[in-house]
């Protein structure tokens, strides 16, 4: 259970957010690398998975040093900070974007000492039984500094470590106690450990550098950024240990149907990543293909909403035979700190970020493809942009089914009643957005896009079919201020 402050989207656009990206690297004994620099490079490549906060923990001879803060990787680190982080093992983390800096304590990795030594943990996912575990720990005198389920996870690992002989055993035992989505990297004085929940909700892969350093990362694009070779994905339920240059693997022993997040393919992951055997870019083009089959329409041009709508647009165009065109141009320089202009704020802020290409649009019947609709606030403005540029017709195609259900596994979907699709038919949505036709990818097609993927999918946000029971009482939007006042005394 997460205690989180709801916030306004940090971009003018209306997207759901991934929670995190994780990374780990370990050099063989005797090999000196600047693990912090490698982590920095990798976190850049994973920046799309989280822009709220970033952190790196390095391990030099068993001593762990951690630097983290709110902000982008490029803001949190500079040359001096990295140079002061020697060590040949490291883990890193990015977390998604917010405006305030007041929740610095939620940044990861979490670096702690316990009775058996040091430990740093970076976590992507969301535990569904974190609330129960937290209460249990608190009843034992545990104190919490954050509202983060990762702190619960760390406590659990430490408590298990007291009862067993090694940190990897402790991680495995922990996997029997926690429920939900997690792709973890754990660093102890001598070991780098990666673990993925038995459902395989979130991606996690293994790479190898020329210099024999093993790497764990949320996505293969981080391996590519480092010039590392892709070895394989971490399997659902698997625990991988790198110690002294050797990779060992074991399985936690929990068997269940895999349920990888399908939205990783649709929007979250970088198109150049390959997750569990399937190319993200191709999955998006495939989605475009199915869209063109399920929702054909006579038109003159297919355009994509930059950046994430483009592959599906290309797929739609290729399969339908309607020419692909560039119809919306993105301003590369939009800053995160952009000051909203005075009047007509919201409309102008869309125009600043995107501009319609009149020569490509004017007088044409346009199919505009985007990856998803959340609140629907941006769609209307995009449609107006196209109509102002002279589009004869605007047909919207969405390369995912409508969002209708909350996610308990690490995606930040707004309150149900804020979703455009909530209690609305497609026709009602079409009218609100103001397009000539609107089509969503079907659930069936959605399950087929990730060609080559070896896992089953979780599509609960579309279907409501949760792969594990989610407690009734999980209130995703519990505010910090709602933490109940204590007993009558304090």
């Amino acid at each position: 259970m997460k205690y989180r402050i709801l916030r306004k989207s940090s971009t003018p656009f209306d997207k759901v957010h991934e929670e995190c990206g994780v990374f780990g690297i370990a050099a063989p004994e005797g090999k000196e690398i600047s693990a912090a620099h490698d982590a920095y490079t990798a976190l850049f490549a994973l920046q799309h998975r989280g822009q709220e906060a970033a952190g790196i923990a390095v391990n030099k001879n068993g001593v762990i040093h951690c630097h983290k803060d709110v902000g982008l990787v490029s803001a949190v680190f500079n040359q001096e900070i990295l140079d002061n982080m020697p060590g040949s093992m490291a883990i890193g983390h990015v977390r998604y974007s917010t405006t305030g800096d007041t929740r610095r304590e939620n940044a990861q990795p979490i670096s702690i000492t316990h009775v058996k030594g040091n430990l740093a943990v970076a976590h992507n996912g969301n535990l569904v039984n974190a609330g129960e575990l937290r209460r249990e720990i608190e009843l034992d005198g545990g104190i919490f500094r954050s509202s983060n389920d990762t702190e619960v996870l760390v406590y659990t690992i430490v408590k298990e470590r007291l009862k067993c002989g090694s940190i990897e055993e402790a991680v495995m035992n922990t996997m029997h106690r926690i429920e939900g989505a997690y792709s973890l990297v754990v660093m102890s004085p001598r070991k780098l450990i990666a673990a993925r929940d038995p459902h395989g909700f979130r991606p996690l892969c293994i790479g190898l550098l020329d210099n024999d350093c093993y790497i764990f990362a949320s996505e293969t694009c981080a391996l590519d950024a480092l010039g590392a070779k892709f070895i394989r994905d971490v399997e659902p339920g698997e625990v991988c240990v790198v110690e002294n240059g050797e990779l060992r693997s074991m399985h936690c022993g929990i068997e269940c149907k895999s349920s990888a997040c399908v939205f990783e393919y649709i929007y979250f992951a970088r198109p150049d990543s390959i997750i569990d055997g399937a190319s993200v870019e191709l999955a998006r083009q495939e989605a475009g293909k199915y869209l063109s089959i399920e929702h054909p329409v006579g038109a003159d041009v297919v355009i994509g909403v930059p950046d994430s709508g483009i592959p599906a647009a290309i797929g739609y165009a290729k399969f339908s035979g309607i020419p692909y065109g560039v119809g919306l141009i993105k301003n590369r320089y939009i800053a995160r700190t952009f000051i909203q202009p005075g009047q007509d704020k919201r409309e102008r802020s869309v125009r600043l970020k995107l501009n319609a290409l009149r020569t490509a649009i004017e007088g044409k019947r346009v199919i505009m493809v985007d990856d998803s609709i959340v609140r629907g606030t941006t769609c209307g403005r995009l449609v107006k942009l196209l109509r102002d540029a002279g589009a004869a017709e605007v047909h919207m195609r969405i390369s995912a089914p409508p969002f209708r259900h909350p996610c308990f596994f690490g995606t930040d979907i707004p309150e149900r009643n804020q979703l455009l699709a909530h209690n609305r038919t497609v026709e009602e949505m079409r009218e609100i957005i103001g397009v000539d036709s609107l089509g969503f990818l079907s659930l069936e097609a959605c399950r087929k896009i990730a060609v080559g993927c070896k896992l089953g999918f979780c599509d609960a946000c579309f279907s409501g079919e949760y792969p594990i029971p989610v407690p009734e009482q999980v209130n995703k939007n519990m505010f910090e201020t709602e933490i109940p006042l204590p007993s009558n005394k304090d």
Copy 2:
């Protein structure tokens, strides 16, 4: 003549740089707008024309207040600064990127007082007789704070103003004294003036807001960002004056063949801009078309180098029938302050910025389209990326002719001996880059791409045919340190 410090390219990529973008806005009397906020929005849209420095000068009741600094628009301005810049008339400027902050004095607009009042000037272009004019002014006791030809321009306007009756006359008389490329906006207490040199080297257009505010901007994309209507381009040799909500126009009286910079269409301008009647995006697609005619090759996929190579790739694909594909993925989060990783720096820095999409490349014969080759340093690394991703063949197509000559009109092309094309045949270049074939757009085709453009072109950087005589002694790369020591006394 510019006294400029040569610097290393601020991006890992190897591009020539545009010098500047300009903007101006004026409200009718009695109409209160926040001209600074509008200028800020417009400069965002023009940011691609210059990332070194940014500035805005506002005019409130005849008093001009200027804020400028090195850095991106988003770094130079914040809410507080803009809020402290009231006024209903403004001009703005962006300047291209460098690393040091030591040349703050070169930022624009230049705001000064003279005997007849205040003046602020923003300038895009380069004067070829600035050196002579400067010496003349210095011999008269003039002092210079910068190495900027704009300061020469301001002095000349002020000196002309002493001899005539209005600021617009002074600007017109100045046009008879200066030679070279200039698109100017000038703000006096009551007037906003735009002027474009008789050759029309650099673009400049006129727009109108719903609230009757006139706008001048380097490109139409700035009008779009403000939701302004495009009125027309400023003509070569034209001087436009906005006073009290009315637009007047005159011609400076110098007649000559127009010679708009063709490289604006190839690379500088934003694809959504329409310059002198021609769409930039379509010109790029057109360049791709001609490339496919002039340099056909059997291949499986056409890819573009993001972002500027993509339209030409689309054009190539469309005309050749070879499918367009996305083969290179750009990391959206590369920061300007990115810290170069330790080993294999340069190679890694390309990988960080771009990644090859293995699934789109593997086993395929690839045509990679880019807009230009300067030093050629990036090309080789991109080719390696593609080959590492399994490309069977790599054919490079460049949507411009080879750079072989310096530009004296506002483009920063490196020293001749740093250009890949310098003293090399296409075959020699092909070998250096390591591609299976290499083709450049022909000069003839290049002159045809801007369909609808009402002006003639300058393509001197490719052809060596300068539209105006350029003095032998213009040493484009004169260093600041080479300013000659003074006479034997001081």
Copy 3:
């Protein structure tokens, strides 16, 4: 036990450092104040007690929000941050100065949640049994984020809270478990609690504002800064609770001889503070008086080393009849970030901070009074300054006995072998410093200076007589890197 990184003194001067200053304020129910602003003002007044880090935790309707960072109070907080910290109860903390920013996690207050609610704690002092307690907590599965004994303290309070009925009981029970020096403020959702260890090592006082808000602060100067009335000191062993505008008090029940830190009077505290009934300024003048009795010498002028040597110099002058003069002028603008000049660094850095007043010194026999000698590095340079300015003789008088022993109660005294007095006679020290005579205050006199003080003193740093047993194995300078590697497994 503290795990601390030794660092270089952050000032060019050679002083021992106080650990911390604490503050708390609580408004009666229904009374709305900006407790954060008051805490900010008070922390400014307490800034001399710690310049490393600063923090404030506010309580709004039972929800605690904490902001803290490394840096001075003025750097850690700004208007926006304070304005975003509403709430009518607050605690604050300042911590002493270091250069790195890497130990942000050691900043206070510590704000946590536990099973019974929220808690924030600010602590001045040092626990001698923190190591044992920490191990005990770790064996129970506790995790530690810092090397701070305050985290041990918080865990202990929370664990006690599980066993009793209120937070104040928990604090009282904790006092039976911890040993050492502590002046604490604790904030729970409804209560503000202050506690002082049974020996009364560190000061802590109670104040009251006109608007019925109760205040706790390390020194009375914080009350004065807020315009609050001084009520009384917190007694050694006392626990004070403010709840709903009412102040209650109880005693922890541990009876022992009081032992207030005498060095608070000599150097740490602000001269305008009154601690346990004795004026700090008058105590310093009194020290000067005893110095003049114990170490008389014929001279023309008595000068003090600014700022802390001045009161003793005035006292010496008054009692000896030798005129007081200003002989050393301090530069008010020396910045914390001062860049060391190239050559002759250290000498120049003293000259930058202090300058001798030639007209007051030239040809004169000078008595220079300072409060203490630690390593002795600055003394020699000051003496050279005076001799360069023409002093005929230089007699040094120190208003404290020589430092010879470590402090375990919250003062940062360097390693024994770095102390000038270590294994040296006064004559040997005199020769090293290069003065004509040198005199230290006697231990007997030192115990008499705080006229009116109601408590006994700890002078162990001078005498070696520790008021409580200090474990042999307490290694004050244990480095972080020396945290033992864990068992053979992790």
Copy 4:
């Protein structure tokens, strides 16, 4: 004439401000020093003369590089900036404090190029005929970037340079054209020049380092900071030239009565400086002596208002026989960016900066000595502090006559009607301040305090007797916004 924006005092205290401090250093040919580091050190020592802006211009082989900005020396420069400023000749400047950063263009040195080469100028003082000269230059086509009289000065030097054979001649000829107060340092490619106006309004002295580098500085305290030997003061009307390690001197040929600013001794200068032969500290003590003669009163203690009132208090005490005491304690950590607390702002801001020492004040008749009264706003609050601390009587003594007239020579005295002394008798002032008695130093005594000074004095701010005619029309408070709108055309 200066065009300046009136601003609120940046300190809670009510003082007049000095305009500037200047510095120059030149190494003999072949001697490599880091002149920028020396300038930095010296500017620190001169920081009290100006806290608004700081700048350094260095000269490396004839090329001048300048860095300057608003802010304290420690904020404007850092290690990297200084390290990037190689060169063995430099000049520096500090300017007094303001809040906005919008007037960056007024920072000095001014570094320009002219027809004969480079030039950098730093200036302390104020020209009374700057307005006329400016108009003359403007009529000749000159443009101005700032509202600074130093820009006028630079133009004048450059214009003179065109007519004569060397920069030093140009400076001398300029001295015949400008009127008012100026202590200048000028740097050309090969020469460092210092000049002081014929009246000697502002101080300027010559020093020599062990390594044969000559130094010019506003005050001797800058020499001391560098460990330089004091050679002598620059004489009124003198021009000193350092070229290739040799110092030459000439006189501008204008003979007149000298009139050094007496307020330098009373408040502006650092107490450890010796100006024109007189010690500043001793002058202040002397002022205290005369005060005790002119305004005796029975009292128990004499206290000074820190920091500048202390020497006069010591002088008063010494001569009157009433004991000197410390009655007000200053908080060393008050930041420039201090956030004003909510209620009772102004009162609290005084309490934060100063606190009364109750034990020294209670029940006593107190004489409080301060150096001057400007608006009188602080005085009342200080008196309240003393009365709240139990003072039986408070007698205020001011070590200067009342301010009644504007200064045209470089001091920023508020508008006449804001001065407490304007149209008020001493008795009226006494009542407003709320003291038992009030005494100002007489004009006669004021003229005697700088014992040993070789020059006559300007005391026009007290006496109204201006040493040179000041034009009726000089409107010291002309606002920038009042620059008249231009002729009907622009």
